[in-house]
Symmetry: C3
Subunit: 372 residues, 3 copies
């Protein structure tokens, strides 16, 4: 089971031993060993399913170490020395300032230099070039590709193409199609991890998802990752038209996870350890105004709702928000959504550091200089 | 009067002690102490009025030190070490390549890493997010926000919002609405400071503003800042339709400043120590072609005009220009407008250095290595 | 013949001694000494013709040194220290992600910080500013200008303008109009140089150009540069409508170069040491669909064509490609087009290093640490 990229990291399974068609046809859990290094760290980060619990905990620990190390000038300069010899390309053919800047910041914290493509249509595509050729060209200049694309599966196709080229380069999927956004799931887990740090961790908690559960890929990914923990109860609160997909519920059943499906937010507020609010994703409407016909007025969080929540509860939101959470809650200590943004930067820095084999150097610095 | 940001610099007045509505309603001079650090350096730079004369002179001195230090490789590397542990976000929802690159360069000179948003419409705004949420999100990744926005007052609103958050971050206003562009005013002052270095400084000089004085925010800000100096005579030369606003003249009267209003450029050329040329800002026309109906032919500088100017006069222009200044004057030693661009970079570097407490380190290096 | 920029490098000929009109009217070979430093290194890189054979070989050697030095962390950090005190501006008013990222990477490898303008229309142009003013303004912030523009001759005009200003800054032309793209020619030469490293070099080889030879500026520049080598036979294979221009053939005749003009690809495949494939450049069509009426089906490379090529042949393509080369050839060892992309980064880094006088420092490091 030991295999190497032609020039590069030793991998759990050798992607050059599998054909393109066979690779693409695999289930995520089957693909995972082709994406993971022998030491258990990711090489390519394509979907949430490749992160098992020990890795999730390792990354959360690393993110906290990076966050705390960065508080001093000396610490920040140490971190910026780690990957000062590497460069990253951010290929965002589906624009998102927030996700772009978060990944960019993660790279900068580790001292990487960066280049970026942020246009929906690059000039090369206008000249008839395939997306695969574009990404392969850009990858030839850089040591890491962070890509976001409306094109379903592009990150997976590129992982195979580059893995079979002379110069494999790790890929981080920063959102592809409607489905996968693994680093968002990581940041949500890290936010829960931090929120429950003094409450025994994520195990045994009740997480209530609220809003557009049908079309929000963040909910789907986080729901999946929570199955990696013990006794987490998942509650899905949404208007019927926007309720979570049956495939997720099937998965939860299969994995023996307790869950509830409801349209009554008030019923679940007092029991929630975490509330995960989401926005109506009307950009995915199949007909104009489709979402506008749905009554979402009972799926919002204001002062009245906050009043019946536990004093220890955590309020999350992947942002951007519209009016799902009243701005009057922004300075409530239970509101974690601003910190959640910043957590995204830390966990992405942890992921990149782990990908390039810097985890132990960070551990050592942390033990010697920060943790007492 | 001593107050601290929740985590951060000690401020002259505590912005968490004033409501949003009360803060926004204040006059600039009232707001200033909420923006300034206890040591007299700016935390947020929002408008020209917060700069008093000693601070203007301090920043001009710092800008010159940075400029001269940067001439050697060792000096440039010293400067780039100062803020190598800090990162800046340039949020330019109103594009301007010139102002963007000038601020970017200032950050780079000090070793800051940067991220940027340069689109008029970010994807988040398309998803219904408020501007305040966008900026607050982006600020969570960075240590400094440099923002330019067509939205009047956004920088001030963000100063209050971030000042009342867990993580206050300094803001530099790189242009907001029609009104404020404080770093442009600083660079104009610095250019006059350099131009008159061997002529006794800015005090006592005659500054002639020419062109579209009604709609040019640079003229308004510079006129204001010149009142911080002694015996500066201000002359406003424009077609009647584009003459300076009465509010500025009221202010000059109130502060006892000598001024003249004229439509005769030839009359004032021989007396000018500095000529500040401006472009017709027809992008602000309320009706198409409005500006085109105004005769501006007598408000241009060519060889004939230059011939009657003092040999020591300084010609400034905030650029971009159209035909207000003939290109034949570009290499005239009195033409300071190219140097003015570069001065903008130096004074912005000085401002950022001062904001982050690096002024004294620069003084020490300058005294030891450059100044003799 | 020895002359200096006002502040800067000593040049072969003094550009301030020639008028703008006279300079622009010169032939490339006449202009060259105004662009080259006394030590034989380029100051401005405007066209392929300014590179003579010794300089081409020097740059290829430097590119290989940089490439090999960069393989270790220590080497990469050495390279990144070389120009850590310099900053580059990438002004791409004609967008090209591939060329942009390649130049950006070259700058980053040498430790330069960068700023960029990547819009077709900058806001300043909307405000009526001339391109010359825009570039001169932006140049005032940076130490190097890398520019790509649809405007024929802009880079040459700027070389004169900046050379006659207070602050000359080197310019690298990254593509202007239909004609010049000198760094593309350099990367093609470097790719041939590497491909024939163990076959006695470029001299004596047969290079077959295929496709749209009329409108591809890369072919024209490479054809020119190949005349700097000895006994290189050039073969131009294209449909009649897209055959190479008569001006190039005249030049080859004048320089005594052996060439062939053909429309029969199969005839030349077995003799080719290098095949240079190109895309139909239908963006230059004078009437919509003009190119579509041309039968290009016989000017493509697939498995059947590859089968009759020499085992040592090199397949090049400037990319982007459409279907001129079948993807089934992508992992053929003769396919050099992906490596060609990466070669572009190395030769551009070599060019920038040479421009700023770093060539000898690189030689010393290479001799001491890499070459044995």
């Amino acid at each position: 089971m030991d295999a190497s990229n032609r020039k590069g990291a030793a991998m759990q399974k050798d992607i050059t031993a599998v054909s393109f068609e066979d690779f693409i046809a695999m289930e995520p859990l089957q693909k995972a060993p082709y994406l993971m290094q022998s030491d258990g760290m990711p090489f390519n980060t394509l979907f949430a399913q490749q992160f098992e619990r020990p890795l999730l905990e390792r990354l959360c620990g690393l993110a906290t170490a990076i966050r705390r190390i960065s508080k001093t000038r000396e610490g920040a300069l140490f971190l910026a020395s780690l990957l000062a010899h590497k460069r990253a390309m951010l290929y965002f053919s589906q624009p998102s300032s927030r996700t772009f800047l978060s990944h960019l910041s993660a790279c900068e914290i580790l001292g990487m230099r960066t280049g970026s493509v942020r246009d929906a249509a690059t000039s090369s595509e206008l000249k008839g070039e395939s997306k695969e050729d574009s990404v392969r060209t850009f990858s030839s200049y850089f040591d890491l590709i962070i890509m976001r694309s409306p094109s379903k599966g592009l990150a997976e196709r590129m992982a195979w193409v580059l893995g079979n080229s002379e110069r494999p380069v790790p890929i981080i999927n920063a959102g592809s199609g409607k489905d996968q956004h693994p680093t968002q799931a990581l940041l949500d887990i890290y936010t829960l991890h931090r929120s429950f740090e003094t409450q025994g961790g994520i195990d045994g908690k009740t997480v209530v998802f609220v809003g557009d559960l049908l079309r929000g890929r963040t909910v789907r990914s986080l729901s999946w990752l929570l199955t990696r923990f013990t006794d987490v109860r998942q509650v899905f609160v949404a208007p019927d038209e926007l309720q979570i997909g049956g495939d997720i519920l099937d998965l939860l059943r299969e994995r023996g996870v307790t869950f509830e499906v409801s349209s009554d937010l008030r019923r679940w507020l007092p029991e929630a350890d975490a509330i995960y609010m989401t926005r109506i994703q009307d950009e995915w409407d199949r007909a104009a105004g489709e979402s506008a016909r749905i009554d979402t007025s009972h799926f919002k969080l204001g002062d009245r709702e906050a009043a019946v929540m536990k004093p220890t509860a955590a309020i999350l939101h992947p942002l951007p928000r519209r009016d799902e959470i009243a701005t009057s809650l922004d300075n409530d200590p239970r509101a974690k959504y601003w910190r959640q943004m910043r957590n995204g930067m830390w966990i992405r820095a942890a992921l990149i550091a782990a990908t390039f084999g810097c985890a132990e150097a960070i551990d050592r610095y942390y033990a010697a200089n920060v943790r007492r």
